[in-house]
Amino acid sequence: MAFDIKGVLAPFSALKQGTKPPHTVRYPKEKKETAARYRGLHFNDLEECIGCGTCATICQNAAIDMIHVDGFETNSGDSGLRPRVDNGRCCWCALCVDVCPTGSLNLTKDYVYVSEDPDSFLWMPGVDNPEGKENLSFQSAEGKPLLEYERIPMHELEGTERVKSFAEVLLGYNEEEARKEAARCVGCSICTDICPVHMHIPEYINAIANGDDEAAVKIIYDNNPLGETCGKVCTRRCETVCAIGHRGEPIAIRWLKGYATSTVNNADLIEKIVNPEILPPNGHSVGIIGAGPSGLTAAYYLSLRGFNVTIYESKSHAGGMIMYGIPKYRLPLDSIDKQVEYMEKMGVKIKYNTKVGKDITLEEMKQHHEAILIGIGFEVPYELGLVGENEEGSIQAVNFLRNINSDRHVEIGDKVVVIGGGNVAIDAARVSRRLGADVTILYRRRVEDMPADWEEIEGAEDEGVHIHPQAIPLEIILDENKKVKALKYANAEMIPDPEGGRPRPKIIEGDEHIIEVTSVIGAIGQSADYNFIPEDIKNQIEIKRGRIIVNEDQQTNVPWLFASGDIANRRADAISAIADGYRAVKGIEKFILKSENK
């Protein structure tokens, strides 16, 4: 027999087992690694969580409750509630994890739960297992979420097309887009807290998603009679706290409001749809100075409550700053007219071209009305404080915008410099572009410090407006005819504020430049003209930094005198003015009915 090679080598084949994991149990016992996506006990990152309750809503076993947790308060952007899971009901399907907008709720690898109490199944994720963060397994995937994180894009005119006319820039959602966008909303209502008016946002968005635009309009008009305006120009703080916005693009709340209100194209139709309850006349009379957003809002809701309301408006149109301040490419005239016409149908009386202090005095008004609301807005521009500022070619932005919106011709030439960084400055710049001028904005701080909306800044840049930050104007240079010829400015560097405030610009010595201009437009802020208020009343009310101090009912120190809008709040936007007007309604009602009962 030949040499049995197989028999010699076979025992060595056992060696290959040395590299394989053993089949026997090892001592000391080694714990097996849990599967990577194991669905164990919940963990909630309490700081990330905003208490939107989407987990509790989606849970098909009704196993999740939202409850108060010490250390978390209800505030703008957080309901202050946190989820608690009934582990006796939970089936670990993890829908709650998949749907969590912030991604704070996840499952861990822990599955051992021991308690001495056989009835104890309630589990407070994050509170009961603060260490769970290190042990996450099943997490909501950002790649394939149950939620739609991307906003339906809004159609708008191209920058080069926009500067040719005052046509509205945003083209609005069509029906299909609006339904899709509205369907992204989880309806948590976190947004309603930060809205100055506390509009019923999840309700009207859900109505749009359900295809009921009329219900949406009725809900919007419940506490905002200028919903269409807000649908176009609102500063929309709601969108900054949107639950979806934590990991995606927030719901386009403003544009959805714009969509719903724009489906109603005349005042009769608004009346038919909104169909508000109107109380019979109660014999009381209220006078309002200024038909801006706050005055109109107060007038509308006071009328519905049976008051006899008259607005005294110095100009020929109602709307205040939304009429005379906001350019028509953002808010078309017929949109304002429609909203005002509806309010007039509801009993609001507006005396146009009637300036209080000139055509009628405050004392005369007081003889007709039991309470008076001042909503005159900030119309007097701050002066730039430069030499040559009162000469031809130097214009104030608010006057410029008012003239343009009143269809008056304004000569600005072809090289315009706008000084300022707020929305008024951007508006003036974009309007100047539409009049055919090359436009430069000079702003003393950095672009990121500009108080204007970033969308407005971007829009201006798209339209070819040149923004020159950290530039401080020094002097307006005039030609022999005392007409503006050039502007001298200096570049500035930002120096940190030792007191911890925002960095301040400081002129770089010698870094001065001169640009040739045909017009200089100043837009560094406005204030109010209180000259119509008699001295004795002015002495009683408190005016601080140009604003009238009011209580939470918008009431001044003079009980029958109320104030609202820019003169009473620091936000200086339409929605805050509307909120003031809405609060004033309750304040005035309380004041008049209380004095009646005495």
């Binding site: 849970c59 409750d65 509630l81 309603t192």
Partner: protein, 196 residues
């Protein structure tokens, strides 16, 4: 014809050659998706089994397309030779959901059909064991149908553990904090209201 070395591409070609109305695509590596008219499905399945050598019926599944008033039946076939999966999708009318049994082709189809019958209410004609399967004494809407209200069922049938009375409604908590008064006509549209 037996295709021993059938690949995704030859498989697609072959199916399209025979079934002109089928929508065939390679979904990913080793997986071919076939969308087919309902009446062609038995024909196709026996063709796939006997001619393309997809000997194994791996699974039958179902999706409720309630908006389109249809159920979708999905059959997963596996070929050991080609190590390839065919996914056959077809639609059944939701009003009267009916199909024929496949137990004459694959005995294990009977069990899958029983499950789908119980969970979705689809009748597989010829299957004689469509009785009670996993659910006991089930009445009403089959539970995997999308119009089955799972939360309502949980609330009605599962024990409500004491100690959960402190639950808060998010909408109410926020409106109480902000002072917002939500009118009744708006409340109809609050998605989140906890029912009384």
């Amino acid at each position: 014809m037996h295709i021993q070395d059938c690949t995704e591409n030859t498989c697609v070609d072959q199916i399209q050659k025979i079934f002109h109305t089928a929508e065939v695509e390679i979904q990913r590596k080793k997986r071919v998706k076939v969308k087919l008219r309902l009446d062609l499905v038995p024909l196709f399945l026996s063709y796939a089994r006997d001619y393309l050598n997809f000997k194994h019926l791996a699974h039958i599944s179902c999706v409720d397309w309630i908006e389109e008033n249809e159920f979708e039946l999905i059959f997963m076939l596996w070929s050991y030779e080609a190590s390839l999966m065919i996914m056959v999708k077809t639609r059944v009318n939701r009003e009267k959901p009916e199909f024929i049994t496949l137990s004459h082709l694959w005995p294990q189809a009977e069990t899958y059909e029983r499950e789908i019958h119980e969970m979705y209410g689809i009748n597989f004609k010829g299957n004689e064991r469509l009785g009670e399967f996993i659910l006991e004494d089930w009445e009403g809407v089959p539970p995997m149908r999308r119009d089955f209200d799972t939360i309502k069922y949980s609330k009605e049938n599962f024990y409500q553990r004491p100690g959960r009375e402190d639950a808060q409604d998010v909408r109410e908590t926020i409106s109480k904090h902000s002072g917002e008064e939500v009118p009744d006509f708006a409340k109809e549209f609050s998605i989140r209201r906890i029912e009384e």
